[in-house]
Symmetry: D2
Amino acid sequence: MKKLIAVSGSDGDDVNLSTHALKVAEKVGYYIAEHQAVLLCGGRTGIMEAASKGAKNNNGLTIGILPFEKSEANDFIDVPIPTGMGNARDYLLINGADAVIGIGGRWGTLNEISFAMCIEKPTIVIKGTGGWADLLSDPKIVKGFEKKPYVVSSAKKAVEMAVKLSE
Amino acid sequence: MKKLIAVSGSDGDDVNLSTHALKVAEKVGYYIAEHQAVLLCGGRTGIMEAASKGAKNNNGLTIGILPFEKSEANDFIDVPIPTGMGNARDYLLINGADAVIGIGGRWGTLNEISFAMCIEKPTIVIKGTGGWADLLSDPKIVKGFEKKPYVVSSAKKAVEMAVKLSE
Amino acid sequence: MKKLIAVSGSDGDDVNLSTHALKVAEKVGYYIAEHQAVLLCGGRTGIMEAASKGAKNNNGLTIGILPFEKSEANDFIDVPIPTGMGNARDYLLINGADAVIGIGGRWGTLNEISFAMCIEKPTIVIKGTGGWADLLSDPKIVKGFEKKPYVVSSAKKAVEMAVKLSE
Amino acid sequence: MKKLIAVSGSDGDDVNLSTHALKVAEKVGYYIAEHQAVLLCGGRTGIMEAASKGAKNNNGLTIGILPFEKSEANDFIDVPIPTGMGNARDYLLINGADAVIGIGGRWGTLNEISFAMCIEKPTIVIKGTGGWADLLSDPKIVKGFEKKPYVVSSAKKAVEMAVKLSE
């Protein structure tokens, strides 16, 4: 059985999505494939597309858990799984994953990361990618909570930790 | 048709759950009933139970969207709806509501609030109740996001706003 | 806590929906209210509307588990719960119920009844109402299966059995 | 993007599961791989395992949509996707598929086939495999319904039709 690593991050319409975050996402996808793991993502644009592209550039397998229709998938998704559940597909993405990597992100990314924390999936955020990944990297913000996401500062470390934590 | 107002907050096992937050939750439940609205919640202990108790003290109707079993419901739930979906019942709670009020809270509450933001349900957090409700009340934390939850400082104002926004 | 009895049957666009089946559904709703139970249904037209009307005529409480929007609810639904899951709301309807009554029906009704059988909810079909309720009443058809739905021939008996089986 | 063909049929604990049905399922899996499509199934034993084995014997890709845990997967599943939704995972299996093939089966299989009919996925049952596949192959049983599943009598024809209908 293959390991499934979920990548969570903004759609392409996020005005705060930086070139750096997209590059990190592409590297994350590349390293997921390098570790023979499967990339699981929301299947759409932005961070999801960058990660999918990275995985395909390294001959990885990409699965997109889509809101409603196959046609929503980006060009680098091998296996599109439409759910008919809209944004609630976030839950399936997280439930299906062995570990979760958060990059940048708005409320949808936060929804995925917070759900991963709830059900105790190994959860890693990449510092420096903006959005909620950066906010959740801030010890002052998460200090009051018993459970905290892991914080790393590179794509390589994020995937290494995700692989290790899903063993 | 009745209005459904969701209350989101920690289970009773949250060590940071304050007496103040529980009192606020009970008042929120009371005012929901006062406005002839239905209280929708996760059906369990802590904030959910306090809100349910408040609604029942004012002859309100309480519905608990439960993870797995009817037996998970607190004593103030009239209509227990087990979902068989575990924590993913959060999504149904928010989808079913006309407006959402967040009180205190850890990752589960954040999961509900972030999902409400995603699908653009009117979302109100009560400042001073601790946890994520307080963090999301902080303009410095949410400044980077286009969509923000409404922030109020009392149970009465939270319910008035929830009722108004669900018209 | 109140008992929840689900009524499953065709939407109003089923060309095979008989006046008899609609009358039976209305009586089922009436008796559900008579037993102080809550009517849970898919919230739409046809059998669902007839059952809801019957329950309201007897001062019952009606909850509609809707595919997407509150606006899909029929006029006799007190508490509309939109799920955002489309037809998959069938699963929530059945999961949430203490017992299920099937009247007439096409593939959607069969989907609800078969799911109820899977998860071993008490399931009753009313013979003489057409569609899958009649097919599943035929001992020749269901003879090969260990689990079979209960078969009754009146609304009154169906509700009495549903109430008894959910004790 | 790859085509996803779902195979629906009993778990290994179905006492009516025939050697013939299992052989048909294995052939169905084999032909799905032959057509470069992905086998989507419930991931467990019986028909699901036989189909997965057939696909792996032909170097296919197999995805198991599981009720709760990865550990539920049979030995021939490449990508296990636990859903946390129990039997309601049936709905995701069908929603994710381009076409559905039903073999034998009890209430769970019927639940999947009836849902496929509801949402108008191309649905094929294989006559001679027992259970609900045979019952739904009987024109006398389904005569009253506008929509009917396709009926074929071999694994090869079932997959050819599934591939054709998902174009």
